[in-house]
């Protein structure tokens, strides 16, 4: 519209060989520790997110092994009841809040900007802030574990057990504030992804050309935005009950115990899809190059993603079938819970159709896709079972449910995730992971998983409840429990080998090149690993599979400045370019704001006044963060 007074340098004015060095100067993060603390590059932040989340996966896995040692024999004394309860609570909370949700969002943070062909995520400083907050939340939980003061009320923290009367000490407060940390970071990332997908797509990438993975991250982000406020209210009111004596959950004072369960599961069930939908997107991305055809049923898949997202808010009561709610209400939730099998089935059928009509190549990511199909379908079947009220009265809170949700979460989300790491590792690091080790990793994880979790179905039907730190020798459970415990070590060894492979490949893996799998989406159009500016020139998209087009060279758009960080803002539906927008420079203030927030949240476990005094440093940090720099505004 108008040009600013400063002399600007557009990319069209720069020589071809001069363009990339100049862009690099503009987009490069700083050097050294200061650079590491101030960076706002979505790739660097996403890498940190992913590595941190996998560290939490490994720690949570160690806890699982410790539990399995305790449960290998009846009345074992390896762990005390108190320690066991801390460990199963931490295992669940850690896997859900510190591993599964963050790692899925992190994959989105890394891949979405690349897949939609932009140079950075929207709100990059918020992105940096979200990582620091996530890290702080994780540290709070794990320091509590180290101090033998970890939460011991289950990852669902039902009141009144977690309330002021029965949850002594600070354990339940640590749980509730860990939730606050992670929901903050999840909400921040969700907003970034929604805006990136809606407003920063490359010219020509209309809504019907967005990769399915990006669609899945978009739907997931909306789920986060809608579901997280429920848990935010729940955990805040729990803290209030514990800290200042409100009575949200105290039936003696007019509160209601079941209110907690409604709020928790209104968040808790969509949470499952927050983890699962990105995995569907990953499978859609991987199945296409390894079947050598575009994924079948693009429209059906996208509709199924949205339908799953909508339905996921209508089935929380199936976690409460034995709480004594009116039966007609429960029947409605049976119907809605079972109905989710229809979009889930649609996704599976589309994947099968892709395989059927394609020419499959059995590389490691594809093996994990096949493992996903087998395992997730089984988990879906048991999901239909637990959706039935009468059936659930027998299996609810037994090992049957433990088996079921590990089938859905590990089979449905972690298998695709590990496959996705094999698949995108070359993009992220420039090197391939080992195909030979990958096959062994898949074999061990797949076999170890089924040997560990299948017997749990039978254990549950045979009467073994969940969350017990031991069981009596008279009951016929010991043989199967020992078998499960031994198998768990096979599964863990598979993950161990995966970590070894990843670390080894970082240094000595085969050099990958930009597009080692011959894929069609935009992230493969740039170098591996991508330069700080992602694309030297913004690609122009003319089809759903831009890199599989007949023409050898991808058309590009020009006209962005190279002397400051600038990206293209496009329209929501058709992705027509609308404006050039500046993208924020590096800043230390997100870290400072995150530290101030951390101090406030930790303080609030001890005194309500911490919220008042703690708000001051946060306000200062935010003021500095948003201090106007007199940079010219967006230009059309």
């Amino acid at each position: 519209m108008n040009s600013s007074s400063t002399a600007q340098v557009l990319d069209v004015e720069v020589e071809r060989e001069d363009l990339e060095p100049r862009l690099r100067r503009t987009w490069q993060s700083g050097k050294g520790i200061w650079g590491a603390l101030t960076t706002v590059d979505h790739k660097i932040i996403a890498r940190r997110y992913i590595v941190t989340a996998f560290v939490f996966l490994a720690l949570g896995g160690v806890l699982a092994l410790v539990m399995r040692v305790q449960l290998a024999f009846p009345e074992a004394r390896f762990l005390s009841a108190d320690r066991y309860n801390q460990i199963f609570t931490t295992h669940g909370s850690n896997m859900m809040f510190l591993f599964a949700v963050p790692v899925m969002e992190a994959m989105g943070v890394y891949l979405v900007p690349l897949m939609v062909g932009t140079r950075n995520i929207a709100f990059p400083r918020l992105n940096a802030f979200s990582y620091w907050i996530f890290l702080a939340g994780g540290l709070v939980l794990w320091i509590a574990v180290a101090l033998d003061a970890a939460p011991d009320v289950g990852w669902f923290a039902y009141v009144p057990l977690s309330g002021p009367e029965y949850g002594a000490g600070k354990r339940a407060d640590i749980w509730a504030q860990m939730i606050t940390f992670t929901e903050l970071s999840a909400l921040a990332v969700a907003v970034e992804i929604v805006v990136t997908v809606f407003k920063q797509r490359a010219p020509g990438m209309s809504l019907d050309r967005i990769p399915v993975f990006v669609w899945s991250m978009l739907v997931t982000s909306f789920l986060v935005i809608i579901a997280m406020p429920a848990i935010m209210f729940a955990s805040s009111s729990l803290i209030l009950d514990r800290l200042v004596g409100t009575h949200f959950y105290n039936p003696a004072e007019g509160g209601d115990v079941l209110l907690w369960q409604h709020l928790f599961w209104f968040f808790g069930h969509p949470e499952v899809y927050i983890i699962f939908l990105p995995a569907v997107g990953m499978v859609s991305a991987m199945i296409s190059p390894f079947s050598q055809r575009p994924v079948f049923g693009y429209l059906a898949l996208v509709i199924a993603l949205i339908a799953t997202g909508l339905l996921s808010f209508g089935l929380w009561v199936h976690h409460m079938f034995v709480a004594g709610l009116p039966p007609s209400g429960s029947s409605f939730f049976t119907a809605s819970s079972m109905a989710i099998a229809i979009p889930a089935g649609t996704q599976i059928f589309c994947f099968l159709a892709t395989l059927w009509s394609g020419r499959p190549i059995f590389k490691t990511p594809m093996l994990f896709v096949i493992g996903f199909l087998i395992t997730f379908v089984m988990g879906g079947m048991t999901g239909v079972m637990v959706a039935s009220v009468p059936l659930d009265t027998q299996v609810h809170d037994t090992y049957f449910v433990v088996a079921h949700f590990h089938y859905v979460l590990v089979g449905g989300a972690v298998f695709p995730l590990v496959g996705a790491i094999y698949y995108w590792f070359p993009k992220m690091t420039g090197r391939m992971m080992s195909e030979k080790l990958g096959r062994i990793v898949f074999g061990m994880i797949f076999a170890g998983f089924h040997l560990t979790f299948f017997p749990m179905h039978i254990l549950g039907l045979a009467g073994m409840p969940r969350r017990v730190y031991t069981y009596p020798p008279e009951l016929p459970w010991s043989g199967m429990n020992l078998f499960v415990s031994v198998s768990a070590f096979v599964l863990a060894a598979g993950f161990g080998l995966f970590f070894i492979d990843a670390i080894r490949s970082l240094r000595s893996g085969k050099v990958a090149g930009p597009n080692p799998w011959n894929c069609a989406s935009l992230e493969w159009a740039t170098a591996s690993p991508p330069p700080p500016y992602n694309f030297a020139r913004i690609p122009v998209v003319q089809s759903r599979d831009p890199l599989w087009q007949a023409s050898s060279e991808l058309p590009v758009a020009t006209g962005l400045r190279v002397d400051r960080r600038e990206l293209v803002v496009s329209s929501v539906v058709a992705a027509e370019p609308e404006a050039r927008e500046s993208s924020p420079a590096d800043s230390i203030w997100p870290l400072v704001a995150a530290l101030a927030t951390t101090v406030m949240l930790i303080g609030s476990m001890f005194s309500a006044w911490a919220v008042v005094w703690g708000a001051v440093p946060i306000a200062i940090a935010l003021t500095c963060w948003f201090w106007p720099k007199r940079t010219p505004e967006d230009e059309s």
């Binding site: 039902y158 059928f349 159709a353 239909v384 009468p390």
Partner: protein, 343 residues
């Protein structure tokens, strides 16, 4: 009923290889649990069939050699038809399962049971059962052992004293939560006399794993006798026996043990009807020696285990609400001897 037992036996034989449990959804001993097993088996059958079909399709898709001649457009249309058919059949199966689930959920024959004469309360970490009295006789209380007559619907009112618990005796019925501030009910119906184990199914804190109960189903006559004996005070009967000159050898330690019980903090938490012990925070011990288990299923009841429990409850069931009461070994022997007489 017959069919269900045959099917369940088969199921058991196949999947649990001879495991017999008194606490298993696969081993129903009453109509409710039998119905539930029927639904479980039906769902398992349908879901396994669907799973095998999908896996068949997966294997076929992976092994198939696509022919070069197939025209792309025609092939895509063909697949669309198949995928649509698969989605429609999924929906049909879902409707079927929902209807089956809905109709069997109504259980008319045992939802309309008589009014509840037994109140079951879950406490950290044991079960308190209050049997109502009637016009002529008072009620009584037991712990962790619920007696019911066979062949009848027995309705329990369920309440939680502290946190949420869940009442689950899988061989008789599905589970039902005990929620503070709410009244729930559950109906039990045992077909044959026997002992059916259950345990708390909702995580309720430190010793959640050690919160078991036993349902003792008896013939109506035996049940009536049990109720009669529970209504009486064991101490009164015992004193009568001692005075009548039976039980001479028991006399000294038993009387001394009663004295210890009343002098030490025991009486502050436990009731023994017929004595001055009237505490209510712990289990009623009026007939403690008649019970099969101690400490909500941690120990089999015997003189030795009772003494061990009194001597050191915190090692046997860490964190439970019974404190370690300091006693000399003589006092311990006496108090155990006293409690052993409370049949």
């Amino acid at each position: 009923m017959k069919q269900v037992s045959i099917v369940s036996c088969l199921f058991l034989a196949v999947f649990t290889a001879g495991c017999t449990g008194v606490q298993s959804a696969l081993d129903p001993r009453g109509p409710a649990a039998a119905d539930l097993l029927r639904i479980i088996l039906f769902f398992v059958f349908v879901c396994t069939s669907v799973f095998l079909l999908v896996m068949g399709a997966l294997v076929w898709s992976l092994l198939r050699k696509p022919s070069r001649e197939e025209s792309k457009g025609a092939q895509e249309r063909q697949i669309s038809v198949v995928v649509t058919a698969a989605i429609v059949s999924t929906a049909a199966i879902i409707v079927l399962l929902t209807v089956v689930s809905f109709t069997s959920d109504r259980f008319p024959e045992y939802k309309e049971a008589s009014s509840a004469a037994i109140l079951a309360r879950g406490e950290q970490w044991w079960w308190r059962f209050d049997y109502d009295g009637d016009d002529r006789s008072p009620g009584f209380q037991t712990a962790n052992e619920l007696h019911i007559p066979v062949g009848q619907d027995v309705r329990l009112r369920l309440q939680a004293t502290d946190v949420i618990h869940s009442f689950w005796v899988p061989s008789l019925a599905g589970k039902q939560d005990l929620v503070p501030g709410r009244d729930n009910t559950i109906t039990l119906h045992a077909e044959r006399p026997g002992i059916y184990r259950g345990q708390c199914a909702e995580f309720c804190g430190l010793q959640h794993a050690h919160m078991a109960l036993e349902v003792v189903a008896q013939e109506p006559e035996a049940y009536r006798q049990w109720v009669e004996s529970q209504r009486r005070s064991a101490v009164v009967s015992q004193v009568a026996a001692v005075i009548a000159g039976r039980d001479v050898f028991m006399r000294k330690p038993c009387i001394a043990g009663r004295d210890v019980f009343m002098r030490k903090p025991c009486a502050a938490c436990h009731t023994i009807r017929g004595t001055e012990a009237k505490g209510t925070s712990g289990p009623d011990l009026t007939h403690v020696a008649s019970r099969r288990l101690l400490a909500a299923g941690v120990l089999q009841n015997s003189a030795g285990s009772l003494a061990a429990w009194i001597a050191d409850p915190q090692t046997i069931k860490p964190g439970n609400n019974m404190p370690l009461v300091p006693m000399t070994s003589e006092e311990l022997r006496q108090v155990t001897a006293f409690l052993e007489t409370l049949r």
